[in-house]
């Protein structure tokens, strides 16, 4: 009796597992167009029949999670009839997933928010060149990979935000200056887990060399108004609260504060100034978000069409007006706020350098005790 029950119970469990598996499996073989069975669409995109008649789907692994992205994909689908399937995740995890999936990976495009990671994706061998004259004319070479493995979608500048009350813009000059005694106890910055800080330091390693970059990081740690905490918006609030006078921030967070539903946040946005550092020297640190074409893309034509659409002037203007990022297409219309900040000199760096130096940057951050 004992044996029989145990056996049947185990058998029942196994059957259950198998059924769940087959449930998902058979869904994918039906080639249906409804989205109710999540795996259908992914597998359907790969079906032989569709591949021959020109693919009607694009599969994206993306580390950008903005609402505006979804709107643009919908717009693209309306215009072309090509369905866009999305998995959102963290960039490094998605790279790892693509690596492990290998040739069978369903991903057509990889999208992320950092030039260093784009380079990491390239060196991981999960991308292939994007061959499109439209993309090349949409996006200047400075925002494209040398081998066209990826192309920028938007740019963000890491600026110095300052208290309009206590700091005159004339007192500000460079990132390097923030590490001098002049700013002791006045610098606000988020923790070293932030990729934005890692990339900024990576750029300084490239421009000034490792030793000076380490000195800089040490100086910033010595000048911190408080231990690093919170996000970029929290640094702006800390300025207005009087905890510190200057903060390293991405520009679009200032835009978000000014457009917040919370009147108090709008006030914060109004009380801080935006300063583009290093105008006389190496230029303001700029980073990009961008898209790469997956090496084993099964819907290559559709994927390239989507890249062409996203880098087009129209989509670029939407990116910019909804998210306050800078467009990479010079033809795109700038929103008023971004125009009001004026033109500025950008760091002239190959974005792949950010990726190459990222590890060193993290080591330095650990070493100098930047929490």
């Amino acid at each position: 009796m004992l044996g029989r029950f145990t056996f049947s119970s185990v058998a029942a469990i196994l059957l259950f597992i198998l059924l769940t598996a087959c449930g998902a499996g058979s869904g994918s073989s039906e080639n249906g167009n409804t989205a109710s069975q999540p795996s259908e669409s992914a597998a359907a995109g790969q079906s032989q029949e569709q591949e021959q008649s020109g693919s009607k789907e694009v599969n994206i692994y993306t580390a950008r999670h903005y609402e505006v992205d979804g709107k643009l994909y919908d717009e693209f689908t309306r215009a072309t009839g090509i369905k866009v399937n999305v998995v959102e995740g963290k960039a490094e995890e998605l790279i790892e997933r693509m690596k492990r999936e290998g040739e069978s990976s369903p991903a057509d495009l990889f999208i992320t928010v950092d030039g260093g990671i784009l380079n990491n994706a390239k060196t991981s061998g999960i991308l292939q060149p994007i061959e499109s004259d439209t993309v090349n004319s949409n996006v200047p070479a400075e925002y494209r990979d040398a081998d066209n493995h990826w192309v920028g979608l938007s740019a963000r500048a890491r600026i110095i935000a300052y208290s309009k009350e206590r700091v005159k813009p004339e007192q500000l000059s460079t990132y390097e200056d923030l590490a001098t005694d002049k700013w002791k106890g006045k610098v606000l910055v988020r923790s070293s887990t932030s990729l934005y800080n890692q990339s900024l330091l990576a750029s300084l390693i490239e421009l000034n060399g490792e030793a000076q970059a380490e000195e800089w990081a040490k100086g910033i740690v010595a000048n911190m108004a408080r231990k690093p905490e919170g996000g970029d918006r929290d640094q702006a609030k800390a300025i207005v609260a009087g905890q510190g006078d200057v903060a390293l921030m991405n520009t679009y967070y200032v835009g978000q504060l000014l457009n917040s539903k919370d009147a108090e946040e709008v006030k914060v946005g109004e009380q801080i100034g935006v300063f583009f550092p290093n105008q006389e020297t190496t230029g303001t640190h700029v980073n990009i978000s961008g898209v790469g074409l997956a090496k084993h893309s099964k819907n290559k034509d559709a994927a390239i069409k989507l890249i062409e659409y996203l880098t087009g002037a129209e989509a670029q203007a939407i990116f910019s007006s909804e998210n306050f990022e800078f467009p990479v297409n010079p033809e795109a219309e700038l929103p008023e706020l971004l125009k009001s900040w004026g033109e500025f000199k950008k760091q002239q760096l190959d974005f792949s350098k950010l990726g190459e130096h990222n590890k060193k940057a993290v080591e330095i951050l650990n070493k100098v005790g930047w929490d």
Binding site: L2, T6, S9, V10, I13, F16, T20, A21, A24, S28, S29, P38, S39, S41, A43, Q46, N59, H65, N85, E88, G89, K90, E93, L94, E96, R97, R100, G102, E103, S104, P106, N120, R190, T193, R226, P228, E229, G230, G231, D232, R233, D234, V240, A241, G242, Q243, Q256, S260, K261, D262, E264, E265, V268, K298, N358, K359, A361, V362, E363, N366
Partner: protein
């Protein structure tokens, strides 16, 4: 070796497979970054993690057991309501609580703006700073204590009647009954809950990275994401797991010779005493403060934010996200409870260290950051797809020579949930088994019932309460789970947690409040359901 042992070994093997992928990294030896990590990162990370786990463990024990005792042993105004509402903070993911509290207390938050705009008061920011180790301990304590509370209350209500009454008859006052009787005898139940809390704290990334606290978990991600060294990151995770297993062994050694189950056949349920006057008022006040801080205030804040942003954020698609979230939580919850029962029954057959290690091994997935487990699961499933490729080709599933089917489907995520949340299901069942002791099973076996019959006819009815609370705990955990869902989900599949993350990671906490509230509502519904079922059983 009987059927139970064999099935439990199969379960253990399936669960340990992804964990094994992580442990292998220890055997591979240190990589080039390891000496750097050891020199600059490890000491701080280990210290801070230990502090966080220790302090949170102490406070959750105090709060969880205290509230369990209060509601199990006394009747006071609103006590019937508190009995189930004390479980509610579980519905709020700690990282959402952290964002909510720091935003409320921050410069533009409701506290400071009220002081500033209404009373013209501007206090030093130091008064409001929650982003510290103490702040993290506060968040973890207030939002994780229900683990201890739920398990401890189930134990106290059904098990301690005789002891407590004897102590009372012998003239002990309420405090000494609590310290000398209640705390010591509920130790296994407390241990089960506190271990879950420590797992959560050690595996947490959201709260600590936002608060700028360096822990083993942040070190793991800095190594993986910043230094692109997934091997060293896995190595850190493996050491974390080994350390946690060591803690288990220590706890077991400390209580090895004691038995905690009732020795007489009858365990008398606790008779509640009525607290009147000042005592009743104080108990009610205390309960109200806990509920306010751990549930009402943060939820009220989320509701306010949701009214600001719902127009933009809420759309038709949300019903589908809610439906998907619930559907994808039910299946792994059921699988987890079945697997947990199989292991719990067979573990009880060997008294030695083997059974113990088996039990701890299957729950170890909980102590490692979810993203690391996710990679292990991904590796296993892609291998599995490789082996099954001929079958897929024969059945015309997928395309190409090496089609991916399982790893592109929801099955992978479901399996990952089971691997990760065996701990919540198993620990609840284990506490239930501790409570009923071995004598029923022994008597049943003596009377000629088989192991399976004994389980179904004798133990299962006694385990109902533990089974239910384990089910709800696991379900709620899965509903709010983030890192596994983020990496392992199929295309176009969103859960409420991934939607919340989408906003929160971009510092849009106002927008994130809408999906976060949905998580709270779904969890609330399941806790309420549990309460209804429990009451039904009492009658």
């Amino acid at each position: 070796m009987n059927g139970w042992t064999i099935s439990s070994l199969i379960v253990a093997a399936a669960i340990l497979l992804p964990v094994f992928f992580i442990l292998v990294s220890v055997a591979q030896g240190p990589g080039e970054n390891w000496s750097h990590i050891k020199q600059y990162v490890l000491k701080d990370a280990v210290m801070q993690s230990a502090w966080l786990a220790l302090l949170t463990g102490l406070f959750t024990t105090g709060l969880g057991v205290g509230l369990a005792w209060l509601t199990a042993a006394y009747d006071f105004p609103l006590s019937r309501l508190f009995r189930w509402t004390f479980a509610l903070p579980l519905a709020i993911p700690p990282y959402i609580a952290a964002y909510t509290y720091s935003a409320m207390l921050g410069y533009t938050g409701v506290v400071q703006t009220t002081l500033r705009n209404t009373f013209g008061l501007q206090l030093s920011q130091g008064w409001f700073n929650i982003m510290s180790v103490q702040g993290a301990v506060f968040i973890f304590t207030m939002f994780l204590y229900p683990y201890v509370y739920l398990i401890a209350r189930a134990f106290l209500e059904s098990q301690t009647g005789a002891y407590v009454e004897n102590a009372r008859l012998l003239g002990r006052g309420p405090w000494s009954v609590f310290w000398l009787v209640v705390l010591p005898i509920s130790r296994p139940a407390i241990a089960g809950g506190v271990i879950l809390v420590c797992f959560e704290v050690l595996g947490d990334y959201g709260v600590v990275s936002y608060f700028g606290i360096s822990t083993i978990s942040t070190a793991i991600f800095k190594t993986w994401f910043g230094m692109y060294d997934i091997a060293s990151a896995s190595r850190l995770a493996a050491w974390l797991m080994i350390g946690v297993l060591g803690l288990f062994l220590l706890e077991r050694q400390l209580r090895r010779q004691r038995r905690y189950s009732a020795t007489s056949g009858k365990s008398r349920p606790l008779v509640r005493r009525r607290l009147r006057g000042a005592g009743g008022a104080a108990a009610c006040m205390f309960g109200a403060v806990v509920m306010l801080v751990s549930f009402v205030i943060p939820v009220a804040q989320l509701v306010v934010w949701a009214t600001w942003t719902a127009d933009e954020v809420w759309h038709e698609g949300f019903y589908r996200i809610i439906g998907d979230t619930v559907a994808v939580a039910i299946v792994p919850t059921a699988l987890t409870m079945v697997a947990a029962a199989i292991v719990a029954v067979s573990v009880r057959q060997f008294d030695g260290i083997f059974g113990y290690m088996l039990a701890k091994a299957v729950t170890a997935g909980y102590s490692i950051p979810g993203a690391i487990i996710a990679i292990g699961v991904l590796a296993v499933f892609i291998k599995l797809d490789g082996w099954l490729a001929p079958v897929y080709v024969a059945l015309r599933l997928g395309t190409g020579e090496a089609p991916l089917v399982l790893s592109l489907s929801i099955v992978m995520l479901v399996a990952a949930y089971v691997v990760r949340f065996m701990a919540t299901g198993y620990n609840a069942l284990e506490a239930g088994f501790e409570k009923i002791g071995p004598q029923y099973a022994e008597a049943s076996r003596l009377l000629g019932r088989g192991r399976t019959q004994t389980f179904l006819r004798v133990e299962l009815p006694l385990l109902k309460g533990a089974l239910l609370s384990g089910t709800v705990l696991t379900f709620v955990e899965i509903v709010k789970e983030l890192p596994l869902a983020l990496l392992l989900r199929p295309f176009n599949f969103q859960t409420l947690a991934t939607k919340t993350y989408q906003y929160a990671s971009d510092e849009r906490i106002h927008e994130a409040s809408v999906p976060a509230l949905c998580i709270v509502v779904v969890s609330l519904a399941s806790v309420y359901l549990l309460n209804r079922i429990e009451r039904g059983m009492e009658v």
